[in-house]
C-alpha cells in the first residue's frame, strides 16, 4: 500500500464530503431530496471528511485501503468517482425540463397518486357508547387564504377535490391562488386556450418525483417558456370531461414568478 494511493483515497473522500456539505450548507439539497433525508446527507458529509482526515493522519502506517489494487486502477476508479459528481454538480439546473416531466407522465387524477384519505378527526363515542363515524375536519381549519381572501391551494389539493365530494365543496367555484410550472397542453386542448400547471410530488428524491398537473384555462391562451414558474389566480371548477371529473382553473390572471424556495410538494 503506497502513500500515493492513500492520498488518492483521502482526496476522493474529501471531494465527496465537500460536495455533500456544499449541497447541505447552500440549501441546494432542498431541490434534490425529501426533507427526511437531508440529515443523513449532512451526517455523511461530516463522516466522509472525518474519514479523509483519519486516512491522512495514518499515512505511513499499515493500511487496508486499496490492498491488492494497482495505483493506475485506483487513479481510474478515482476519476470515475470524482469526475461525474463534479460535472453533474456544475451542469444540473436543480429541476427537470419539460421533456423529462412529460416522459414521466403527468398525474392528472388523484387515483394516479395513491395513499390519500380525506382529513378526518378521531371518532367520538356516541350516546349509547359505540364509536361514531369519523368526521371530516372543518375546511376552515386547514385552508389558508391570501390577504384578498382567495384560497391558497396546491395542484394536488385540486386533484383531491376533484375525486372527493366533501373536499370539492371547499373549492368548487371559489377563488383560488396557486403556483406551479407552465407546461403546454399537448392533447385535449382543441381550442388552444389551456395549459398544464405542474408541481413535482416527491417521496424520496427528485429521481422518483411525479409531476402533478392541473389544467388552466385562459381567455387569450397564455404562452411562457416551458417550465416557467407562474402564479395563477382564478376560479376552481370541476367539470366532467371524457367521462371523468377533472380539476380546471379558469384563470383571471397569470403572473411569472421566481421559483419558490421549496419547489417540491410532499
Amino acid at each position: 500500500m503506497t502513500t500515493a494511493s492513500r492520498f488518492l483515497s483521502a482526496g476522493v473522500l474529501m471531494v465527496w464530503g465537500v460536495v455533500l456539505a456544499y449541497f447541505c450548507l447552500s440549501g441546494r439539497i432542498i431541490a434534490y431530496l425529501h426533507p427526511a433525508f437531508h440529515v443523513y446527507t449532512a451526517i455523511s458529509a461530516g463522516v466522509l471528511l472525518l474519514l479523509a482526515v483519519v486516512l491522512l493522519l495514518t499515512v505511513g502506517g499499515e493500511s487496508a485501503v486499496s490492498k491488492g489494487v494497482s495505483l493506475w486502477k485506483q487513479v481510474f476508479a478515482s476519476l470515475i468517482l470524482v469526475g461525474p459528481l463534479l460535472a453533474a454538480t456544475g451542469i444540473s439546473p436543480s429541476e427537470f425540463g419539460a421533456a423529462a416531466v412529460e416522459n414521466r407522465g403527468l398525474v392528472e387524477h388523484i387515483s394516479d397518486l395513491p395513499a390519500f384519505t380525506v382529513p378526518t378527526e378521531p371518532a367520538l363515542p356516541t350516546a349509547d357508547g359505540s364509536i361514531g363515524p369519523e368526521t371530516p375536519i372543518d375546511a376552515a381549519s386547514y385552508l389558508k387564504r391570501t390577504e384578498t381572501g382567495k384560497i391558497k391551494a396546491e395542484t394536488v389539493d385540486l386533484l383531491y377535490a376533484a375525486a372527493e365530494p366533501t373536499m370539492r365543496e371547499d373549492f368548487e367555484n371559489k377563488d383560488v391562488e396557486l403556483i406551479g410550472q407552465f407546461l403546454p397542453m399537448r392533447s385535449g386542448n382543441p381550442t388552444g386556450d389551456r395549459f398544464n400547471l405542474v408541481r413535482m410530488f416527491v417521496m424520496c428524491c427528485a429521481a422518483d418525483a411525479r409531476p402533478v398537473a392541473v389544467a388552466v384555462q385562459t381567455g387569450d391562451g397564455a404562452t411562457f417558456p416551458d417550465m416557467t414558474w407562474v402564479k395563477i389566480s382564478g376560479r376552481a371548477t370541476f367539470p366532467i370531461e371524457s367521462g371523468r371529473r377533472s380539476a380546471l382553473i379558469v384563470a383571471d390572471s397569470i403572473q411569472e414568478i421566481d421559483a419558490p424556495p421549496e419547489t417540491f410538494i410532499y
Binding site: 449541497f23 425540463g97 428524491c205 427528485a206
Partner: protein, 307 residues
C-alpha cells in the same frame, strides 16, 4: 400516444443522477462502516453459531434476518461480503442480500401506506412472502454451486489472505478502530465505483424514456408483468419508496405491480454493477435472468388471486 420514446437531455440526466447519489451515499456509507466493524470486531464463525446446521433451515432463517437487521439494497453488498469472510455460508449471504431489502419493517410500513385503498394488506403480505420465497429458492440453488462460480476470485483471495478474518482481537482497540475505518473506506470506494456507474445508466433511462409507452402492455398479464419488472430494473428505485411509484401504475394488474416490487429491490441496473464488485459476471447474469423468469412465472400464476 405522443412524443418521442427517447429524449435525452444532459441537464435532466445530471439532476436525476445527483439526486440518487445524494440519497444513496448515506446508506452505502453506513453499510461499509458496518462492514469495517464486522471485519475487525466480529469473531470468525460467530454467525454460524446462531444459524441452524441444516442448510435449508439456515437459508430460511437468513431470509428473515432483515426483520431484525434491516438493510437497503445499496448498502448490503459490503456487509454480506464481510459476513461471508467471517464464515457465513455464501448461500445464506445471498439469501439475506436478496430478502433483506424487502423483508424488513420499513418496507412493510411503506407498502401498506402506498397501497392504501388498493388491497394494501394483501399486496404487502404477497410482496414479503414472494420475496422470501424467491430469496430462499435462490439461496438453495447457490448452496449447490461451487463457491468459485459465485464469488470473484480476487474477493475470495482477499478473504483467504486477510489476517483480520480472525477478528484481530489481539491488537489494541485504537488500532482495530483505525483498521475498521480503513476497511470501511476500502469497501466504500469499491462499491461506489459500481454505484456511480449503475446510477448513471439508470438516470438515462429514468429521464429519457417516455414511460407512457409501456401503458398498452397493461392489457396482457404476461406483457404487464415483464414490462413492469423491466421498468423496475431500469428505474433502480430505493425499496423503501418504490411502492409509492408502483401504486401509481393504476392501469396495470396487481400482479404486475407485485413483480415490480419484488424484482426491483433484488435486481436493477445499479445493483448489477454493485453485485459485480463481489460476484462473478456469470453469476450476476444468471441471477438476473433467473430472478426475472422465476418472479415473472410466479406473478403470472398469482393472477388467479384476482389482485
Amino acid at each position: 400516444m405522443e412524443g418521442a420514446w427517447f429524449t435525452f437531455r444532459i441537464e435532466d440526466f445530471s439532476y436525476a443522477f445527483l439526486s440518487v447519489l445524494l440519497e444513496g451515499v448515506p446508506f452505502i456509507l453506513l453499510g461499509t462502516l458496518l462492514s469495517g466493524v464486522i471485519d475487525q470486531f466480529l469473531p470468525a464463525r460467530w454467525m454460524t453459531r446462531f444459524l441452524p446446521r441444516n442448510p435449508f433451515l439456515a437459508v430460511c432463517v437468513s431470509g428473515l434476518m432483515g426483520l431484525i437487521f434491516p438493510m437497503c439494497e445499496c448498502g448490503i453488498v459490503p456487509v454480506i461480503r464481510r459476513l461471508i469472510a467471517k464464515g457465513l455460508p455464501v448461500s445464506c449471504g445471498v439469501t439475506y442480500m436478496l430478502a433483506a431489502p424487502i423483508v424488513n419493517p420499513l418496507v412493510i410500513v411503506s407498502t401498506l401506506a402506498a397501497f392504501r385503498g388498493q388491497a394494501a394488506l394483501e399486496m404487502t403480505f404477497l410482496r414479503l412472502g414472494l420475496a422470501f420465497f424467491v430469496a430462499v429458492i435462490v439461496g438453495l440453488a447457490v448452496h449447490n454451486l461451487p463457491i468459485a462460480t459465485v464469488m470473484k476470485r480476487r474477493v475470495l483471495e482477499s478473504m483467504a489472505l486477510s489476517p483480520e478474518t480472525s477478528g484481530g482481537s489481539l491488537r489494541p482497540l485504537g488500532q482495530r478502530l483505525v483498521a475498521a475505518l480503513q476497511t470501511g473506506v476500502r469497501d466504500f470506494l469499491d462499491v461506489m465505483v459500481y454505484f456511480v456507474c449503475g446510477v448513471a445508466v439508470a438516470s438515462v433511462f429514468s429521464t429519457a424514456i417516455n414511460q407512457e409507452m409501456i401503458l398498452p402492455l397493461a392489457l396482457n398479464n404476461w406483457l404487464a408483468v415483464s414490462s413492469m419488472m423491466l421498468l423496475a430494473g431500469l428505474l433502480a428505485l430505493c425499496s423503501t419508496s418504490d411502492a409509492f411509484i408502483a401504486a401509481t401504475f393504476v392501469a396495470f394488474p396487481g400482479v404486475a405491480k407485485l413483480a415490480f416490487l419484488v424484482f426491483g429491490p433484488m435486481m436493477d441496473l445499479k445493483l448489477i454493477f454493485i453485485y459485480s464488485s463481489i460476484f462473478t459476471n456469470r453469476f450476476v447474469l444468471g441471477l438476473a435472468v433467473g430472478l426475472f423468469v422465476l418472479i415473472g412465472l410466479l406473478c403470472v400464476r398469482l393472477a388467479v388471486l384476482g389482485l
